[in-house]
């Protein structure tokens, strides 16, 4: 699985390199992108998918934020537009009202008609409302505010000049204000008012125009951003989909392959089983015959047998027996590989105790100093684990038999979270570490048959059983300095 995804991930980068080299781009420019590609290749499929989804998520966040900001701008401009239109309308009204005020007041001055005075008063009664609106509608722009102030002042002045003229005419008659009446009392102010209002009008219309352009651009940008963002999200999502899909296909393929291999392995195992079964039957019979007929021969010619002939016959028997032992051991070894395994809690203290009690005949007449630690419980098959420690302990006994004072230690390594490591240490003949890899092989022996007996199957059995438990075995040793054999078993038992 790991190698498969790596292969897949490397393919595009290879293609990139081929594509870039002829263009002659400098390494300085491609370095960061290559670094990103290299970094991406180190990720697992889960991390890649997560990266993809995070990018999509961040993208959505950014687009949402920008859209929100832009829409807010549009709304604000919209509000400002409403004010501008209201202001323009108001300015028109003020302009007309002040013009009318000037007109009606002049007519009153000239004619003295009360109706004109009434009309005049009606018009200028609107002034405070104008002032209030004007202040309100210009408060966003200091410049317009300033003009509004100026406008107010001029209106103020026009009204005050006009009302002075009206008082005048009422007190002293038309003649006294004749000139003023003809020209209009607030003529100058009214011109100023016209001037300012048109300035304000132009300014507001420009601002309105500016905002319209701004809003249009804003809207265009938002639409573009949404389109590009959506496109990018789609590309990202498509990549993530591709990653996941590719991974699933790959997993399916691997699973299929595994199943196929499993079937092949099972078939091979069955064949091997049949083979070892026939070995157990058919190899044993001739051996029995060799030994049997040698014995019968010895018995038949008993009297006339010289010493040499007797030794030959003995050798024939011994060889046959030895081969019988080898076959038996091999069969045990083969059976260990396929026998059904129990999975229970094994009390190692009791296990060792019972093995030592079985070995007590071998211990007879030996000087042995035992160091046995308190051992933990392990998960596994009790009879198989018994075989493991039986083999290790008989080995320890066997290889310390040349020492006047044997010392054998059964201990446990400091606890780790996933393994229980039990060791058997002796001060026997030991072994050269360069032969360590051979120790656990079938029929591998590091000592001559006349030094220590044995068929060389015990440690192979140890390793096979420990492997079936999902554990490990290894050994430390030095010639003539003893050996230590370690058995590491998974703490929770083998995971099926």
């Amino acid at each position: 699985m790991e190698s498969a995804t790596n292969h897949q991930a490397q393919a595009p980068s290879l293609h990139d390199d081929v594509g870039k080299l002829p263009v002659g781009s400098t390494p300085a420019i491609t370095a960061p992108s290559q670094r990103i590609i290299r970094w991406f290749q180190t990720l697992t499929i889960e991390q890649r998918v997560l990266t993809g989804f995070s990018l999509v998520f961040v993208g959505i966040l950014i687009i949402s934020a920008i859209s929100y900001h832009n829409t807010n701008g549009l709304l604000r401009n919209n509000g400002l537009d409403g004010r501008s239109h209201a202001l323009i309308q108001l300015l028109g009204s003020i302009d007309a009202a002040m013009g009318e005020a000037e007109g009606t007041h002049r007519r009153y001055l000239v004619t003295g008609e009360q109706a004109y005075l009434e009309a005049y008063k009606r018009v200028i009664a609107q002034k405070p409302t104008f002032t209030t609106y004007l202040n309100e509608l210009t408060q966003d722009s200091p410049e317009q505010q300033r003009r509004a102030g100026e406008l107010n002042r001029l209106m103020e002045r026009q009204v005050s000049v006009e009302s002075k003229a009206i008082t005048h005419v009422q007190e002293r008659g038309i003649q006294s204000v004749r000139k003023m009446a003809l020209e209009g009392a607030g003529r100058r102010e009214l011109d100023g008012i016209h001037q300012i209002i048109s300035e304000m009008d132009v300014y507001e219309r420009q601002a309105l125009n500016r905002r319209v352009i701004e809003s249009a651009a804003n809207t265009r940008h938002t639409i573009m951003l949404l389109a590009v963002g959506a496109g990018l999200q789609l590309v990202l999502l498509a990549s993530v989909y591709y990653l996941i899909r590719h991974d699933i296909t790959e997993r399916r393929r691997v699973a299929g392959e595994l199943q196929h291999r499993g079937e092949l392995l099972e078939a091979a195992n069955k064949e091997l089983e049949a083979f070892s079964y026939s070995v157990s039957h058919d190899l044993r019979a001739p051996l029995r015959h060799i030994d049997g007929y040698a014995a019968l021969l010895r018995k038949t010619v008993d009297q006339s047998l010289n010493e040499k002939a007797a030794r030959y016959l003995q050798t024939i028997s011994d060889a046959a027996k030895q081969m019988g032992q080898l076959i038996d051991d091999l069969l045990v070894f083969s059976r260990m590989g396929r026998q059904d395994m129990l999975q229970t809690t094994v009390n190692m203290d009791q296990l060792i105790k019972s093995i030592l009690s079985d070995l007590r005949l071998d211990l007879h007449g030996r000087q042995i100093s035992w160091t046995i630690a308190s051992l933990p419980e392990v998960k596994g098959d009790p009879s198989m684990l018994r075989q493991v420690f039986m083999n290790l302990l008989t080995n320890a006994l066997k290889f310390t038999s040349t020492k006047p004072m044997a010392s054998i230690e059964i201990g446990v390594e400091p606890p780790s979270s996933d393994e229980v490591v039990v060791y058997v240490r002796d001060n026997g003949v030991g072994f050269d570490m360069q032969y360590a890899p051979k120790l656990f092989g079938v029929f591998q022996r590091l000592h001559r048959a006349d030094e220590f007996e044995g068929t060389g199957i015990g440690l192979a059995n140890v390793r096979r059983i420990v492997h079936r438990h999902g554990g490990r075995t290894w050994a430390d040793g030095m010639p003539d300095k003893g050996a230590t054999f370690y058995v590491a078993l998974p703490r929770g038992g083998i995971q099926v």
Binding site: H281, A285, H289, D291, Y293, A294, L296, K321, L331
Partner: protein, 151 residues
């Protein structure tokens, strides 16, 4: 030693047969041994058929059965014996090279009275066969007679 009834030894391998007979010879019970060379011959003997048509109508004291035999193998012979009400009582001892668990289990399930693995070492083989012969042929009291009574 006096041996009342015959011992049937089913053994296809002539050398094994000779060695077994040599062992019985030492106990002077070999003359009562009926040697069959395959499973079919054992069944012929038990049912008094073919070459055994004229034999004395009595069941053997014991049948020693090898597992791997031509024609009819040991387990098939065992199955036949234990399925037949007239033969069921005959003690059957499996005498084989196989130490395989499934052979052991199947033999006992089918009703074998004993299961003996032939030792490779001749001395052990000798004593095993001698003991078996003496125990089943002499010491053990065979079941009451019903041989070929169905015929």
């Amino acid at each position: 030693m006096t041996l009342a009834k015959p011992i049937v030894l089913a053994e296809d391998n002539p050398r094994d047969a000779e060695l077994a007979l040599a062992a019985m010879e030492e106990e002077h019970i070999s003359d009562k041994v009926v040697l069959c060379h395959d499973g079919a011959e054992v069944l012929d003997y038990l049912y008094c058929r073919g070459p055994f048509k004229t034999r004395l109508k009595e069941n053997p004291a014991v049948v020693f059965l090898d597992l791997k035999m031509p024609k009819v193998n040991g387990l098939e012979v065992l199955r036949t014996i234990k399925a037949d009400t007239n033969l069921r009582a005959i003690p059957v001892v499996m005498l084989t090279s196989s130490r395989e668990e499934k052979d052991l289990a199947e033999s006992y399930t089918l009703g074998a009275n004993a299961y003996v693995v032939k030792p490779v070492e001749f001395q052990q083989f000798l004593s095993a066969v001698k003991e078996l012969g003496v125990f089943w042929g002499v010491i053990n009291e065979p079941p009451p007679e019903r041989a070929c009574s169905h015929q």
